[in-house]
Symmetry: C2
């Protein structure tokens, strides 16, 4: 029976594109190598019609399908289990640019296009495609939509969801839904698009998408500010919204300990205000200006003047050049690497309303330090979106592996319980996957879970689309 399905799949996509032998670890284990699965086969269709035929064949055989893009997800949402009974459907051969419509400010691409290719395609045509995240060199736009990816430009442009106008999807029955409208207003029935976005391959397979383009800014400058408290950082955010308006495209907060790890492990980077004792946090601001670099600088200077008066900024530098602007971003982006250099750590991707972040951090810090003396808190993230990477570094001098074995679950419970207490989210931008399906069950309300299960049952009654991801089987 398995062999019969594999033969059918070979008939659909060609022998060369049904992989069953050799090293398939790139498809079968997740990005962070937490899970090592074993698939029945890895199938690489070249067209939407082939995807539909593959799904139809698997549906007939009651064989689960794991849709996969760049396989860079952080929540184990695109790898097979260890049964050897699941088919991995890789979209990586579907990379075509279908249309770039400059007058409509849209671009339609296939799901397997690499995010960076889409950024470059937009750039060459004179536009900005703003989605940007660490994995952009290998993640796909289909995966970005399946997980509703976030990244560094959400503050201004929204998540992947807000950047998408239309989808093409192969349903769990192997039908093709052409919802590639490119319309900015279309109130004709239920919002199927947003249901598939963020559903992590559990309701159907995104095969193409129409995405928004934006005019390129004339200049992007950054500023780096030392602030006296997290409350002050939130006040600075309000001022920045008011005075930079839509020019504010980045607002990142970095705790003192996070910056100290960058200073320690990347001595070649110059970190401003690293020694300023009265500044427990620094903030990186990005201003994308539609006029000029000098206008961007003038706006920043005006904002910072007001912020000094308010007292929410102690000291600040505005990048003198685009190169220096990049250097300041580089500090922020180096924190995860500096953490890795320091040793093992436990990562979180949480969100809380910006207004409640100061109280949340105070509460969570206190709980963690009380329950696990010596833990070191690496707090940084997209404060403008209320999204913190509230990470926990092993106490100095302790064995990392042993600490993780003994304390990882406790740390997660303490952090997620604190998040729940402040009405936040245990997964701001990384999704649920298989990794956090139990967290979903624990923290979501029964009413929400009931509706999600009803929708899953309605659209995928055989439960063959990425089973165990998002909702527990």
């Amino acid at each position: 029976m398995d062999q019969q399905l594999i033969a059918t799949l070979r008939g659909i996509v060609g022998d060369a594109h049904v992989l069953t032998d050799g090293d398939l670890s790139a498809y079968e284990q997740d990005w962070r190598k937490r899970v090592h699965g074993k698939s029945l086969a890895v199938v690489r269709p070249a067209s939407t019609q082939e995807v539909a035929a593959v799904v139809k064949a698997c549906a007939q055989a009651h064989t689960p399908i794991i849709a996969q893009g760049g396989n860079t997800g952080l929540s184990v949402g695109s790898t097979p289990d260890s049964s050897g009974q699941q088919v991995v459907l890789s979209l990586l051969r579907m990379q075509a640019l279908r249309q770039l419509d400059a007058d409509n400010l849209t671009v339609t691409v296939e799901a397997g296009m690499i995010l960076q290719t889409l950024q470059d395609t937009a750039d060459k045509a004179g536009f900005l495609f703003p989605l940007s995240l660490a994995a952009e060199g290998s993640c796909t736009i289909g995966g970005n939509l399946g997980t509703n990816a976030g990244g560094t430009q959400v503050l201004r442009y929204g998540n992947a969801r807000e950047l998408c106008l239309g989808l093409e999807v192969v349903t769990a029955q192997g039908d093709i839904w052409n919802g590639l409208t490119g319309l900015r207003k279309d109130n004709t029935g239920y919002d199927l698009r947003d249901l598939f976005i963020g559903s992590e391959g559990t309701l159907g397979i995104i095969t193409a998408a129409t995405m928004k383009l934006f005019p390129q800014p004339a200049a992007q400058l950054t500023a780096f500010a030392a602030v006296p408290s997290m409350e002050a950082a939130v006040r600075l955010l309000g001022l920045a919204h008011q005075h930079l308006a839509a020019g504010l495209t980045g607002f990142e907060v970095m705790g003192k300990f996070a910056l100290s790890l960058v200073v320690k492990h990347m001595p070649q980077l110059r970190v401003p205000f690293a020694d300023m004792a009265e500044a427990p946090y620094c903030v990186l601001l990005e201003n994308s200006d539609s006029e000029s670099e000098s206008h961007a600088r003038a706006r920043f200077e005006h904002l910072l003047e007001l912020a000094f008066e308010d007292g929410c900024v102690l000291d600040a530098v505005v990048a003198e050049s685009m190169a220096q602007a990049h250097d300041l971003w580089h500090i922020r982006e180096s924190i995860p690497l500096a953490q890795a250099e320091e040793g093992l750590n436990i990562k979180h991707d949480i969100s809380v309303q910006a207004s409640r972040i100061p109280a949340f951090v105070e509460y969570a810090d206190a709980v963690l330090l009380r329950e696990i003396p010596g833990v070191r808190l690496v707090n940084f993230g997209h404060l403008g979106d209320g999204n913190l990477h509230y990470n926990v570094q092993v106490p100095e001098g302790q064995d990392g592996k042993q600490f993780l074995n003994e304390k990882e679950n406790l740390v997660n419970t303490l952090v997620y319980d604190a998040v729940a207490k402040f009405d936040g989210s245990f997964s701001a931008e990384h999704g649920v996957g298989a990794l956090k399906a139990d967290k979903l069950e624990h923290y979501k309300s029964p009413v929400a879970l009931g509706m999600m299960r009803a929708i899953k049952q309605a659209l995928d009654p055989q439960a063959i689309m990425n089973p165990g991801c998002v909702l527990k089987v």
Copy 2:
């Protein structure tokens, strides 16, 4: 049995809030008085708990529920049928402001709050709530979300959908889902919020919402430009996006005949370029500036210089003052009234990709003039969103009522078939309601319809939530 349900409802909300006698036409007929229904009762709960109890009681009695806000919809989506067997559930007593969170830039309000009240509430707190449409003095935020309302600021701020961060909903089973998160990033499971938004009361009842606030612009200026063609208008849109960026908050196109009706019926209004024969269209642009009125004017002047060079603008005026800016908007807003003064007409609310609007208009104009000689086309709308109110005025000298009786269906078919040919939408911002449920069935793909029916069945298996609206029974 009916009397038993009514007694139960009286027990829940109090005698004074279950209306069964007297003139209930405000609840039982639609805004444009196309449909005159008869309800079993009009129930006016005062809290989410009461809504839940009402829904539970109706569900137990298998009695359909029609959720209603301001009852200002244009697609007959909130009125009962004529059976006398449906309960109208009015949200108008639920108008509370639950929370305004300045640091999080959000406001949480109950569904029955009038849109204008929400605008004013935001304004008083120093913020902008940008949703704005003709009915804002009587429509409710719940209705705006139920229909995913559009309006004049969509170009910059999006539809009601894009302005919403969280919902509280009473399900078809009478359960309360608290999804009022106020989070800008939350990837924990399926997007229930966007499923309820735009579902027109057919899946559940929105009882409260958390909406985004924005900084108030320092100045809002308008410009009025004569353009040589629709192609030129689209080119001007591209330039405006590039040079005003997020400052571009309005881009309205008006055909010559539409403007001539304003000149004819509102002689007190001064319409620029009304006599310019070489300009078949005029464009109204709005620039919302975060700096100052003079900066807004300088940006406009820069843009118009480039547009003159390009040839896409023949002549233009920039408002000299805020008062003049309002006057220019007033011309655009007077078109529907001028149309009514001229006589009966057939209205459409369609969208097509901006890039295809010139070809669409050329095609649709030709088809209509060929099939119905003498029809007069009143073409205007939100070109920035690809949304046209492509209306058809009765031929000069013909009896309006007779023309509508004989030709309305033909006109609609010709327009909607043309829209379908250009991959557009037959309802850009007004929704489907009962009025266009047959259009949905005709123009949507069977795959999309199948998924919508499956979702309806999953969330409302008894089919008691606004039956016949969106999906035909």
